[in-house]
């Protein structure tokens, strides 16, 4: 049996987006056992000195088969922007997850004005 493979391909391999812009692309997966669900999740998460916060903004469900392909088209929300301060960062990502095995594949995105992360630096 082949090793599980999950893949996310964003159209034009873009990683930087404006708020409210549409993200589109395709997914594919090959799993060792039949999944209950295969989902593509758009979410943000935090990194830094504090405990991680995660918020799934949108989910696209695909047919729960051991192998499959699918397309997705998701509209990004207006906020929160991708952000980096000294204490925490907000990062956007797409994640393809097969349950119950929990196998997953993630692609990080940047969402902000001009497709850039907002960086703040001043320390006290």
């Amino acid at each position: 049996m082949s090793t599980p493979q999950l893949q996310i391909v964003v159209d034009e391999e873009r990683r930087e987006f404006e708020p409210r812009e549409e993200v589109s692309g395709g997914v594919s997966w090959v799993l060792q056992s039949p999944p209950d669900t295969v989902e593509l999740r758009l979410f943000w998460y935090t990194e830094g000195k504090g405990t991680r916060d995660v918020r799934v903004v949108e989910t696209v469900a695909f047919e729960a088969s051991p192998e499959g392909l699918g397309d997705f088209r998701i509209r990004l929300p207006a906020s929160p922007y991708s952000f980096s301060g000294r204490l925490f960062s907000i990062r956007w990502a797409l994640e393809l997850v097969a349950e119950p095995s929990g196998e997953s594949q993630r692609v990080d995105l940047v969402m902000g004005p001009g497709g850039r992360e907002v960086e703040v630096h001043e320390g006290s």
């Binding site: 708020p19 999740r41 979410f43 943000w44 998460y45 935090t46 830094g48 000195k49 504090g50 405990t51 991680r52 916060d53 995660v54 918020r55 799934v56 903004v57 207006a78 906020s79 929160p80 922007y81 952000f83 301060g85 000294r86 204490l87 925490f88 907000i90 990502a93 994640e95 997850v97 349950e99 929990g102 997953s104 993630r106 004005p113 907002v118 703040v120 630096h121 001043e122 320390g123 006290s124």
Partner: protein, 563 residues
């Protein structure tokens, strides 16, 4: 960067709290034990078989002026029971009945159990000489909640003091991030339980000893006024650890509908107090043989009173009301805090926070919620109430110590209360100084602040603005994180943006003015999640020489642009 931690306290702190709470636990446990012992006996009595009894004799024994440990009026009864196999007699009306200070109560019992009557009684099958006519009221069981509350506060507090708090997250890299959700909440239930002790204690004293007697006095003022004859009057002395207290003991007779009745009720306020002179005056003016007027309940001639009560005694009712107020405010505040936490927990983490009413049109007025005067009044009332109550107990401890009594435990118990009281007192001068400070009111000309937008900020001071030496208003962006793993919860903040909006020296019209406020387009909007936040604040500082500065912060919501 600022750092705050929510870690545990040291071993000495824990020992101190344990000693403090052990007083609650010990006292509550002892009274619970005594009450349970009584209830167990009562339950056993209720299982005794019910037989028919014949009342052999039924009288009321009058002994006005009886010693302190005896009741002056006692219902004396003797009854006989018999079955096919055995018979016996008893003179126990009810377990725990030793008489009453109210002759009316004894007379009513004599009416209920007249000589020759056939009434049900309960006979102990294991000891046939033991029987009772009545059981103690089962409602008495409810009183057990009072000592149990003390047990709960003491035991729960000690448990919470010593158990290792822990907050252990389990996230790890390499697996799906989006499968994890985070949440956090705390509780204020213990605080509510603590204050509920005050509330219940206050209610238990206020309702039966003051509210009910006041209502009865008001009702009795409409009763029939009947001539009565004083048969006995004296000031009764009740020795106590903290000095003697006094009550009026009286017995008078009166006639209603051609029948002779007696009552021993002076007024509706039960118990005794340390005030002597007014009682002595009344007794001296109402010696034995005096004819006076008493109030008789037209529906029950046994129900009479010779005095409707005094305002001075009613004022003592304010003392337990203080407990009720402190307990009620504390419980309400704790429950409100719990509710807020519950709501915050339920809120979607990505939803913009609703700290300010950003919706709608028109200017946004930013003003401190509590005025300096209300803060001073609240702070002073709190200090007075707190220190008033604490002072009573301190006085008891000090006089007891002066009399050579062992007051160590009480003194230890009082230490935290005294410290809180001192802090409250020290706070009053600061609040008073701050009260005469000019009070700012900021107005933003638009309710929605968005990145890259500008707004007009107006300010106006009320009060002595000439004392201001410098005015600074800054807009600050702050990132704030909370870290939960292991036993501690830690919060860190970092100010990432400080933008001066106003910086004016004295003599440049500080009392009011306008300034242009610009939100940079390339910074971060407000953001709130469970453990990570970006907060924007307008910080106002008015410098005053040799005086507390005017310091106020207003949180403002900065949103991403609509398009």
């Amino acid at each position: 960067m600022n750092q705050k931690s929510g870690g545990g306290r040291g071993i000495f702190g824990k020992l101190f709290f344990t000693l403090f709470l052990a007083a609650f636990l010990g006292m509550g446990s002892w009274f619970t034990y005594l009450m349970v012992e009584g209830f167990v006996y009562q339950i056993g009595t209720s299982l005794w078989p019910v037989l028919d009894c014949t009342i052999l004799s039924s009288t009321v024994e009058e002994n006005p002026g009886a010693p302190e440990h005896e009741e002056p009026y006692t219902f004396r009864v003797r009854y006989r029971w018999a079955t096919d196999f055995s018979e016996g007699t008893s003179d126990v009306y009810r377990h725990g009945y030793y008489g009453s200070s109210d002759i009316g109560e004894a007379l009513r019992l004599a009416q209920r159990y007249p000589e020759g009557a056939q009434v049900p009684c309960r006979v102990n099958p294991g000891a046939p000489d033991s029987a009772v006519l009545e059981l103690a009221s089962s409602w008495n069981v409810l009183w057990i909640f009072v000592p149990l509350l003390f047990v709960a506060v003491g035991a729960g507090g000690i448990y919470l003091t010593w158990r290792g708090p822990s907050s252990l997250a389990t996230s790890r890299l390499g697996t799906s991030i989006s499968s994890r959700v985070s949440s956090s909440f705390g509780g204020a239930g213990c605080l509510a339980a603590f204050f509920s002790v005050f509330l219940i204690f206050g209610l238990l004293i206020f309702v039966p000893f003051f509210a009910v007697p006041l209502a009865q006095s008001w009702s009795a003022s409409g009763w029939a006024q009947v001539p009565c004859l004083i048969e006995y009057s004296a000031v009764r002395t009740h020795p106590g650890d903290d000095g003697a207290t006094y009550s009026v003991e009286v017995l008078y007779s009166y006639e209603v509908g051609g029948r002779q009745f007696k009552s021993s009720r002076y007024d509706f306020f039960t118990g005794s107090d340390s005030e002597y002179s007014s009682k002595s005056e009344w007794v001296q003016s109402h010696p034995e043989g005096t004819r006076t007027t008493c109030y008789v309940n037209p529906e029950d001639p046994l129900d009479a009173v010779v005095r409707l009560g005094s305002l001075g005694l009613a004022l003592w009712g304010l003392l337990p009301l203080i407990f009720v107020a402190v307990g009620g405010i504390g419980v309400a505040g704790s429950l409100l805090s719990l509710r807020r936490k519950g709501k915050a927990r339920a809120r979607d983490v990505s939803r913009p926070s609703d700290r300010l009413p950003v919706h709608g049109t028109g200017p946004l007025v930013l003003e401190a919620a509590a005025s300096p005067l209300s803060k001073l009044v609240t702070g002073t009332i709190f200090a007075l109430i707190w220190n008033g109550i604490t002072g009573i107990f301190v006085w008891v401890a000090v006089t007891g110590w002066a009399d050579g009594e062992e007051m160590g435990c009480l003194a230890l118990f009082l230490i935290p209360f005294v410290l809180i009281g001192l802090a409250a007192l020290v706070n009053i001068p600061y609040l008073a100084l701050a009260m005469v400070n000019p009070r700012p009111r900021l107005t933003l000309d638009k309710r929605r602040l968005t990145l890259g937008s500008s707004a007009t900020l107006s300010w106006r001071f009320r009060g002595a603005t000439r004392r201001l030496r410098r005015l600074r208003i800054t807009l600050e962006g702050i990132e704030k994180v909370t870290y939960r793993r292991g036993t501690n919860t830690r919060t860190d903040t970092n100010t990432f943006a400080t933008m001066p909006v106003v910086d004016l020296p004295a003599g440049t019209g500080l009392e009011s003015g306008q300034a242009h406020l610009e939100i940079p387009p390339d910074t971060m909007h407000s953001f709130k999640a469970s453990h990570n936040e970006v907060v924007w604040k307008l910080r106002l500082q008015g410098e005053i020489r040799v005086w507390p500065d005017v310091l106020t912060e207003f949180e403002v919501e900065v949103e991403p642009p609509a398009r």
